[in-house]
């Protein structure tokens, strides 16, 4: 006899789903639909007379070399920040998991950065890394002109990657730690009995066993660096110098909210949404195959 809890009453089932569906509709489908509508019309800031322009907004977006620049910057940013923050978080988690003295304190403090809002992180990093007045200005005294994110695009890019990774490290750390702690001690101990060193055990036993978590974090980190990096860029570099840190999401903000060109911003939002969906799809389709769930 099959044991499965089913609802014989469809209306009851629908009623249970309804609140969730309503939330998704109000906060996702409705705005997305509205954005799509704006993307195929020309929308004056104060509303009123939209005109249908078909794909003109998308053509404007795709014909703009500066737009492709922002796509390139966004992809590089997502990749660098994700790799950096996952690597650091994994390292921290592996060592905290070894229950070295004070690991409880580390567990708590490493998570703290994630509790900060992106603009706060941006403000802190702008101050620390400002070439004239920050802590890092000492470097410029020793080697004049070495570090200047206000004028050097590479420096600015490094700055936002550092800020984004730093913000995400805490979040990644907690997930890695939880995953590591769910690995039965006996497996590691058996490895130790067979003569595997600490580093060997980390590489050959612990890391392979947390790949499902790693995969989950890659998806979250990439998505976050696409959609939530706005605050950091706005405060530290404002997309400059010379568009070196103009992420797609920041370009949407400047075109839409500062420039009040809602249609152009809506078209870009649709493109960004498709891109994030596509990236997530690729990850599930191709990367997940290599992940072994226990």
């Amino acid at each position: 006899m099959e044991k499965r809890a089913t609802f014989s009453n469809l209306w009851l089932a629908a009623a249970f789903i309804a609140p969730q569906m309503l939330l998704i509709f109000v906060f996702f489908y409705w705005p997305s639909g509205e954005a799509l509508y704006w993307a195929v019309t020309l929308e004056p800031p104060f509303g009123g007379s939209n005109q249908w322009v078909g794909l003109q907004n998308f053509m404007t977006v795709f014909e703009d070399p500066k737009y492709w620049n922002s796509v390139r910057v966004s992809l590089t940013f997502a990749f660098s920040a994700t790799v950096l923050s996952l690597a650091i978080a994994a390292l921290l988690a592996l060592f905290v998991d070894r229950r070295l003295p004070g690991h409880q304190v580390y567990k708590f403090t490493f998570f703290l950065p994630y509790a900060l809002a992106a603009p706060a992180v941006g403000l802190a990093f702008r101050f620390i890394f400002s070439p004239d007045a920050g802590f890092v200005s000492a470097i410029n005294h020793a080697f004049p002109g070495l570090w200047n994110p206000a004028l050097n695009g590479y420096d600015a890019f490094i700055l936002i990657v550092l800020a984004q990774s730093w913000k995400m490290v805490g979040y990644n750390f907690i997930f890695f730690l939880a995953a590591l702690q769910s690995i039965p001690r006996t497996i590691s101990e058996a490895g130790a009995m067979d003569g595997a060193s600490v580093l060997q055990r980390m590489r050959d036993i612990q890391l392979p066993l947390i790949t499902p978590t790693l995969f989950f974090l890659i998806v979250i980190n990439i998505t976050d660096s696409f959609v939530d990096s706005f605050g950091i860029v706005d405060i530290t570099t404002s997309g400059g110098p010379a568009r070196a840190t103009e992420l797609m999401v920041y370009k949407i903000y400047t075109d839409g909210f500062q420039g009040k060109d809602y249609s152009l911003a809506a078209a870009q939002s649709i493109v960004l949404m498709v891109l994030v969906i596509a990236l997530t799809f690729i990850q599930f389709r191709f990367v997940e195959r290599r992940v072994h769930y226990r």
Partner: protein, 443 residues
């Protein structure tokens, strides 16, 4: 839960109903933040204390651009304020919005009795339609002036600020030779570099009188003296005479001037108070009119700052309350004098200016020469080129200019090529704007 919400709503409705019986309320949104935002909030309080019929409910929106964004969003959901403070660059959006109650008409309908002729022409023209009707009330106004360090200039034997850009170039060279590490701090702000430069020299920024003639205007500043002006800046930077100072560097131009790092800068007169309050001890400095290309042909500089707009679609009672408020905050004594005393902004009418002068306002050692801004705004009759800028989505054009100047000043691009790019991309922005408002005539 539902019952709670219902109760809460009833309570709010009752409460507002009870207050409405005493005072007519209306909403006022403003964009200024920080100290300046507090000055505006205080202005509201003073108005509310000055009478007992009306109450201004004033809300800071956390920035000029946010004030505009929020007002647009609120208007679209019919939750907009009655009066809103909008910055200079938002003027054209509001003129075309169809969402406003033009100031001249409002003043007429609600008997505001405003002497429109008393506004300084440079200010009046900026906020006026092409037919010369003012559609908003100038509130906090400023213009760009030249800040100079007297001691640094004394080292090269000068007791006066340079009158022309050529003279300033010579001064910078001499100061470098005299051991001044930084003669001039500048940034990539289009307001000082492009807009005020073009206005004071009567150089066109765009065709059709900088856009006042219609939405078909095209940018023209890649073919004017502006290009050479920027090349001069670049050569001063390369020669070590000048420095770029932005907030990303850790110090903006105002801070770099106030702490004595750089001997001169160009920024808003509104920073006059800030420099006094934050300056290095014993820094001796003064303000002067911006240098021009030809001292004999100086034209007026442009006004910056923000004005107050009345929004449409409110009740007669709210408009009466708003009228009383506008009367209070634009009057020479309770309005202009209050703003000038508490900020670096300048009076906007001849009456306000006379009142301040009679009070000995500019005799105060902290405010000496602050009225150079008025001299600069009234340096000539307003010409079609010094009148202002009326270009759609000008915020984006400013951002384009910033990006390209950053590329040119860091050597990634030739100056002419960079400015050509701005003009080309800016024109695409203008054409999109024109298309968005197809069939709408610029008032």
């Amino acid at each position: 839960m539902k019952r709670l919400i219902l109760l809460a709503t009833t309570a709010v409705v009752l409460a507002s109903g009870a207050n409405a019986a005493e005072r007519t309320k209306f909403e006022f949104w403003y964009g200024l933040t920080g100290d300046l935002g507090e000055v505006v909030a205080k202005h509201c309080q003073l108005f509310n204390q000055s009478q007992d019929k009306y109450e201004a409910v004033c809300t800071g929106q956390g920035g000029y651009d946010k004030a505009e964004q929020n007002t647009i969003a609120a208007y679209r959901s019919k939750q907009h304020p009655t009066v809103v403070q909008i910055y200079d660059a938002g003027t054209v959006n509001f003129m075309l919005s169809g969402a406003i109650y033009p100031a001249t008409k409002f003043a007429n309908d609600y008997k505001l009795d405003i002497d429109w002729k008393a506004y300084f022409p440079g200010i009046a023209n900026y906020y006026a339609t092409s037919a010369g009707e003012m559609w908003s009330f100038p509130y906090n106004s400023s213009t760009a002036v030249f800040y100079w360090n007297k001691e640094a200039f004394a080292k090269i034997g000068k007791t006066e600020a340079p009158k022309t850009w050529a003279e300033f170039g010579e001064d910078l060279k001499a100061m470098k030779a005299a051991g001044v590490p930084c003669g001039f701090a500048f940034d990539f702000d289009s307001w000082m570099d492009l807009e005020q430069f073009s206005a004071t020299n009567s150089i066109p920024l765009a065709t059709l009188d900088n856009g006042y003639g219609g939405l078909g205007a095209e940018l023209a500043f890649n073919k004017t003296a502006f290009v050479d002006h920027m090349k001069d800046f670049k050569s001063w930077l390369d020669a070590g005479y000048a420095k770029i100072q932005t907030k990303q560097m850790g110090k903006d131009v105002v801070q770099a001037f106030a702490d004595g790092t750089c001997a001169a800068t160009i920024t808003s007169i509104a920073n006059h108070g800030t420099v006094h309050n934050t300056q290095a001890k014993d820094l001796k400095w003064d303000v002067a009119m911006m240098p021009v290309l030809d001292a004999a042909k100086r034209t007026n500089s442009m006004v910056g700052g923000a004005s107050l707009w009345v929004m449409e679609g409110k009740s007669k009672e709210e408009y009466e309350a708003a009228a009383a408020f506008l009367k209070y905050v634009t009057a020479p004594d309770t309005g202009e004098k209050y703003i000038a005393e508490n900020t670096g902004y300048i009076p906007v009418t001849t009456k306000g200016y006379e009142l301040l002068k009679a009070d000995g306002f500019y005799k105060d050692p902290k405010r000496v020469n602050r009225d150079i801004a008025i001299a600069s705004l009234t340096a000539s009759d307003v010409t079609p080129l010094s009148r202002g800028i009326r270009l759609g989505n000008f915020t984006s054009i400013r951002a384009e200019l910033r990006s390209e100047l950053e590329a040119a000043f860091t050597g990634q691009k030739d100056m002419q090529a960079a400015i050509d790019t701005v003009v080309e991309r800016g024109n695409q922005i203008l054409r999109r704007y024109e298309q968005t408002y197809k069939g709408v005539a610029l008032p």
